[in-house]
């Protein structure tokens, strides 16, 4: 299974973390710190897998962001590379040429997307189209709810003038 997903920038800033195994706050900071040190210093031509504390960490760099996933020693590393790419492509489709800033200002949306791709550390959906459709449906639910709330408060504001 995938134990955690971490997105870090070249400077070591955390952009997204998702934990599918129990890690306390302290443990999480420790993991992030150690992995940043390990991965950010790797030369570009080397393979995308590092062994760390009995886990394997698969990582791939997209522009200024490193996408890292920690997996069990007997998982298929090449498949995880594909899952990372799957995630990135869906983000790209959603944000339209995604860049790091999108993920910073809309981190909650990135999380929603991740939750449609992985649950319990396992893959949920292999069709990018389906994921996009589900996210769009939920986004429109949110929009409708906000519009309703707006119109109600307008009515109240009018009434109490």
């Amino acid at each position: 299974m995938i134990h955690f997903v971490i997105l870090i920038s070249r400077q070591g800033k955390v952009r997204l973390t998702k934990w599918y195994s129990p890690y306390s706050q302290k443990e999480r900071t420790k993991v992030i710190r150690e992995l940043s040190g390990l991965i950010l210093t790797r030369a570009p031509k080397l393979c995308n897998f590092v062994e760390w504390k009995g886990y394997k960490v698969v990582y791939r760099r997209y522009a200024s962001l490193y996408f890292c996933m920690g997996i069990d020693a007997d998982d298929n590393e090449l498949e995880i590379l594909e899952i990372i790419h799957h995630f990135v492509e869906i983000l790209d489709r959603y944000f339209g040429s995604v860049c790091e800033l999108d993920l910073i200002f809309n981190f909650h949306k990135a999380y929603y997307i991740l939750d449609e791709i992985l649950i319990a550390g396992e893959l949920q959906e292999s069709s990018k189209k389906t994921v996009a459709r589900l996210i769009a449906a939920q986004d429109s639910l949110v929009e409708t709810a906000q519009e309703q709330a707006n119109s109600i408060s307008n009515m109240i504001a009018q009434a109490t003038k």
Partner: protein, 823 residues
């Protein structure tokens, strides 16, 4: 909404934080925002709860504590609207983990949401449950999730399936409940549901053998069909990756097939054709294809495959191994490790390529390759492989040297048939990477050398040569120093020269030089220096002309800040200067170190370091192994009397003699020689009172009773000295031990002896007795000999004292019966 300034918008807060130039600035902004959020929380303000939680999550990602927001998640989850629930569940998953008790409070909301009419809200609940639930929550809500597995909506179905995976991982007992529903999932068409369903089945197989049997019986056919359909399917844009339809589904199905086919010939046979098809048909120019091939090969290796299929798999492996992509090579090495158990011959063919990988620039590949090499070593190729590895050791990176050294040492130890080869390899390893060699490795080397008398000369000469070139490798220095100390005369007199050795002349002075260098070198640590001092003492006995020079060297450390070195310096100086007649028996050749005992002990101790045994030695106040020469005692405080048998007209006895020794260098046990005294029954048996901390307590050392010297063929009496406690060592531990009153063991008009007792903490089987001798007369006693004997059963002791007063021999004896009870 009226945006009064109860807080900034999320976007603005993020902008403000990013604009901060220093960490202090950022902390200030965060503190301000947190204060506002806390105020809003305490006012129970519902309007901005959504936004505040989003801000809290951002702040949490920066690394600041946000536990005060946990209850906000609960309130949002309990709200009616979808947006609130969405962010509430997200906050829950981010800010909490399953070990927190607050999580239990969500169980009720989860239950309601799992039954909600809005499918997306059900989805939110399933997602949260699947990511973060604890075992109790899993148990509580399992029935709901089971029910949801049967719904028609594929979105809910797939989420429920993955949620079930977590439930089973947390509560494996529930696995059988999910067997049926899981197998019906495999009949679906929707890819998401299929992937989730296959994964659920895989986890069920791991959790329960009953489930495994069930699924094997009912699902193998269906699985093969799924794989065949997806493999043969035409172009499907929705699932296409690099020309392959849904590689993820391929891989999941292959993995489940591995679990079902393992150990079962029938199902394996059923899978044969489709596996062959996937193995041959899949394109390997893109990562997706390679991922499928990787999984396929793993499956072929894992089930009861036909030989044709195995050949196919090994071929793919070979191709991977020579691929230029680092990822593929890494994965190939991984696969080869599994393949070794299945078909070792095939893997041996790739040995050269694997050895190349050990030298690769990529650390991950090197590591894998090294482990693989270790699996490939057998008796025929061990010499060439070791040579390659040692050659590489010379040029490898510092970080890699540790691993490489450890592996080489274990290979050498496991496979060495000839002691000569072993010594050679270890010399090389010590020279190249001695600093990375673990303690137990060079200890083993010493044990081995001590057990190979015909190679001792060769060993000490090789080490001497190695030392000349690489004397900064600590372990090399230690082994060399010990060997020169023990076998110095072999070095100087060229004893036991083997044909291939080059002639070499080493003078006594040269040998002392080496030890002196080791002693004075700035990088030598305490252990090395301690060992050097001991070696010097030995050499002063073996090379009498150098004695004075050695004494001067030793004396240089009389003021050393390290107490251990200081003490040794003073004591050895005293021995050299004032006790020349006992010196040779003190430092005579060590007995053969008991290899089997050492190996057994090493296998037993989890640390596999001898430093664990240090506590059992009475002399350890320093770090790692301190080696004492045979027979050296620490003299008691007062009076300063030599308790050893000083009638050293005895020649040094052979190693299998019944001589008793104070310390086993490698563990504090006494070595039990195989020779029984010819006296047989009736002889008092002398127990080694100094085997303190020996785990196998009754290792009686049989020593001829010196009292009944009428037995003509009793070997030379060597008497165990009175037990002596190391005063340095006793001090800290004394408080913790049970205290026994001291006794007056013997009292006459001329001599008084008192015994005081302590036990070492943690080892109540053995007692340390400190004997204090008081001269009650006005004359001096010389040549004092104290002998003691104990019977096996009773706690009593017979003692005998012989000494000279005014040039007259005097003999006193007695029996001690007043040992404290419960000792």
């Amino acid at each position: 909404m009226n945006p009064f300034s109860s807080g900034t918008r999320l976007r603005d807060m993020i902008r403000a934080i990013r604009a901060c130039k220093t960490a202090a600035e950022e902390r200030a902004v965060v503190r301000k925002e947190c204060a506002a959020i806390r105020a809003a929380i305490s006012e129970n303000d519902p309007d901005y709860r959504h936004r505040n939680l989003a801000k809290l999550m951002f702040i949490h990602m920066l690394g600041y504590p946000t536990h005060f927001g946990q209850m906000e998640c609960l309130k949002l989850i309990a709200s009616a609207g979808f947006p609130e629930k969405r962010i509430g569940y997200l906050g829950l998953m981010l800010l909490l983990d399953e070990r927190q008790e607050v999580l239990m409070l969500v169980t009720n909301s989860l239950k309601q949401d799992l039954n909600h009419s809005n499918q997306y809200i059900v989805g939110l609940a399933l997602c949260a449950l699947g990511n973060i639930c604890s075992a109790e929550m899993a148990r509580d809500l399992a029935p709901e999730v089971e029910r949801l597995l049967q719904t028609r909506d594929p979105n809910i179905k797939k989420k429920a399936a993955l949620c079930s995976i977590r439930i089973i991982r947390k509560v494996p007992d529930l696995a059988e409940n999910f067997m049926g529903p899981a197998s019906s999932l495999l009949k679906e068409k929707h890819h998401g549901v299929l992937i989730a369903g296959v994964q659920l089945c895989t986890d069920l197989c791991k959790a329960s053998t009953i489930a495994l049997e069930y699924l094997r019986k009912n699902c193998t056919e269906g699985l093969v069909r799924i794989l065949r359909d997806v493999s043969n399917s035409p172009y499907a844009p929705e699932y296409d990756i690099a020309g392959i339809t849904d590689p993820f589904l391929h891989i999941r199905v292959l993995r489940l097939m591995r679990m079902l086919g393992q150990g079962d010939a029938d199902s394996s046979e059923y899978m044969n054709d489709i596996l062959a098809q996937v193995a041959t048909k899949t394109e390997s120019n893109k990562n997706a294809g390679n991922a499928i091939l990787y999984e396929c090969v793993e499956t072929i290796m894992g089930i009861e495959a036909t030989s044709g299929l195995r050949v196919l798999a090994i071929n793919i492996l070979g191709r991977f191994l020579s691929n230029r992509d680092n990822n593929i090579r890494y994965v190939a090495l991984n696969m080869l490790m599994k393949a070794v158990t299945v078909d070792s011959q095939a893997v041996q063919r790739h040995r050269t390529t694997i050895l190349e990988c050990v030298k690769d620039s990529d650390a991950s590949i090197r590591k894998r390759a090294l482990e693989l090499v270790f699996l490939l070593v057998n008796d025929t190729n061990v010499k060439s492989l070791t040579k390659e590895l040692i050659d590489h050791l010379e040029v490898s990176d510092q970080e890699f040297k540790g691993d490489l050294t450890a592996k080489i040492c274990s290979i050498v130890e496991k496979f060495s048939q000839e002691k000569l080869w072993y010594i050679d390899q270890m010399c090389k390893v010590l020279s190249l990477a001695g600093n990375h060699v673990k303690d137990d490795v060079w200890h083993a080397l010493i044990v081995m050398i001590s057990n190979a008398p015909d190679l001792q000369g060769y060993a000490v000469r090789s080490l001497y040569k190695a030392f000349r070139t690489s004397n900064e490798q600590e372990s090399l220095v230690r082994v060399t120093v010990w060997c020169i100390g023990e076998y110095g005369e072999m070095l100087v007199n060229n004893v036991g020269v083997l044909e291939m050795e080059e002639p070499m002349t080493v003078t006594e002075s040269d040998a002392v030089d080496v030890v002196e260098v080791a002693l004075q070198h700035h990088s030598s640590d305490i252990t090395t220096r301690a060992m050097s001092l001991v070696a010097l003492l030995k050499l002063s006995s073996r090379f009498p002309p150098t004695s004075e020079r050695i004494r001067e060297i030793v004396m240089q450390h009389k003021g050393n800040v390290e107490l251990e070195l200081q003490q040794r310096s003073l004591e050895f100086n005293s021995i050299i200067q004032r006790h020349p007649n006992i010196k040779s028996s003190l430092v005579e050749r060590m007995p053969v170190l008991d290899e089997s005992a050492y190996i057994g002990k090493r296998a037993g101790s989890s640390q596999a370091t001898l430093s664990a045994d240090k506590s059992s030695q009475t002399t350890s106040s320093g770090p790692s192994s301190l080696k004492l020469p045979n027979g050296v005692t620490k003299p008691p405080a007062a009076p300063l009397m030599d308790l050893l048998d000083l009638s050293s007209d005895d020649a040094p006895v052979s190693t299998s003699s019944t001589t008793d020794f104070l310390h086993d260098l490698l563990g504090g046990d006494s070595i039990s020689p195989g020779v029984a005294p010819s006296g047989g029954a009736g002889t008092d048996i002398l127990m080694d009172l100094l085997s303190i901390g020996s785990p196998s307590a009754p290792t009686d050392v049989l020593v001829p009773n010196a009292i009944s010297s009428k037995q003509g063929n009793a070997p030379e009496p060597k008497i165990a000295p009175a037990p002596v406690m190391d005063l340095l060592d006793g001090l800290p531990s004394r408080e913790e031990n049970p205290v026994y009153p001291s006794i007056t063991a013997f009292e006459s008009s001329t001599l008084k002896i008192t015994f005081s007792f302590t036990k070492q903490p943690g080892n109540l089987q053995a007692t340390v007795i400190q004997a204090t001798f008081t001269n009650l007369s006005s004359s001096a006693y010389t040549d004092f000999i104290f002998q003691a004997a104990v019977p096996k059963k009773a706690l009593a002791m017979r003692i005998r004292m012989a000494y000279k007063v005014n040039d007259q021999d005097k003999l006193e004896q007695g029996q001690i019966n007043n040992f404290p009870r419960g000792l």
